[in-house]
Amino acid sequence: SCLTPRTALLYKFNGSPSKSLKDINNMIKGGGQK
C-alpha cells in the first residue's frame, strides 16, 4: 500500500537528523497521535 507522510513518519539512514527518530518515538508512545 502506498504510504503518505500523513500516514507514516519517515527516517532516512545518513540523511535524517536524530530528531526524526524522536518524533517517531513520541508518535508511537502517544498511541499514534502525530
Binding site: Y11, F13, N14, S18, L21, I24, N25, I28, K29
Partner: protein, 155 residues
C-alpha cells in the same frame, strides 16, 4: 527610525539563526567527543585483552537500535535480496541511533545533560580542537554567549 526598526528585526533574525547553528554545532561536538572517546576506549580494551573482541560480539557504527519489551511478539518479513524488511510488533517500540547509544554509554561524558565533572570536562576538551573548546565549556555550564553577549547589552 524606520531603518532602525528594520535593522532591529534583521538583528533578531540573525540571532535566532545563530542560536540554531550553535545548537547544531554543539550536537556535532557531542558526536565528535563520543566517537573519539569510543575509539580510545576500544583501543584500551584491545590492549588489555591483547586483541580485538570477537567479530560476532561487536557492531560497527553507524547503526540503529529498535528496542521493545521482552514480551513483545515481533513478526518479520524479509525480501529475498534483503533490500526490504517489514516488522510487525504487537507492542510499542523505540528507535535510537548510534549517537544515542554512545550517550547512554557515557561516551559524551554527560555533556548533553550539562552534568560533567571537571576531570571529564578536561578530557572532553582534549578531544576537540582548541578553537572549539569554549563551546564544550558552555555545554557543561549550560550557558551560551548569546545570553551573555549582544542580546543583554542591546536591551
Amino acid at each position: 527610525a524606520q531603518e532602525c526598526q528594520n535593522l532591529e528585526m534583521e538583528k533578531q533574525r540573525r540571532i535566532e539563526r545563530i542560536k540554531q547553528k550553535r545548537a547544531q554545532l554543539q550536537e556535532l561536538l557531542l558526536q565528535q567527543i563520543a566517537f573519539k572517546n569510543l575509539v580510545q576506549r576500544n583501543e584500551q580494551n584491545e590492549q588489555q585483552n591483547l586483541g580485538p573482541p570477537a567479530l560476532n560480539s561487536t557492531i560497527q557504527l553507524p547503526f540503529l537500535i529498535v528496542n521493545t519489551s521482552k514480551r513483545t511478539i515481533i513478526d518479520c518479513s524479509i525480501s529475498s535480496d534483503k533490500f526490504e524488511y517489514l516488522f510487525n510488533f504487537d507492542n510499542t517500540f523505540e528507535i535510537h541511533d548510534d549517537i544515542e547509544v554512545l550517550k547512554r554509554m557515557g561516551m559524551s561524558f554527560g555533556l548533553e545533560a550539562g552534568k560533567c565533572s571537571s576531570e571529564d570536562l578536561k578530557t572532553a576538551k582534549s578531544l576537540v580542537p582548541k578553537a572549539l573548546e569554549s563551546y564544550v565549556s558552555d555545554m557543561c555550564t549550560g550557558s551560551s554567549w548569546v545570553n551573555q553577549g549582544l542580546l543583554l547589552s542591546s536591551t
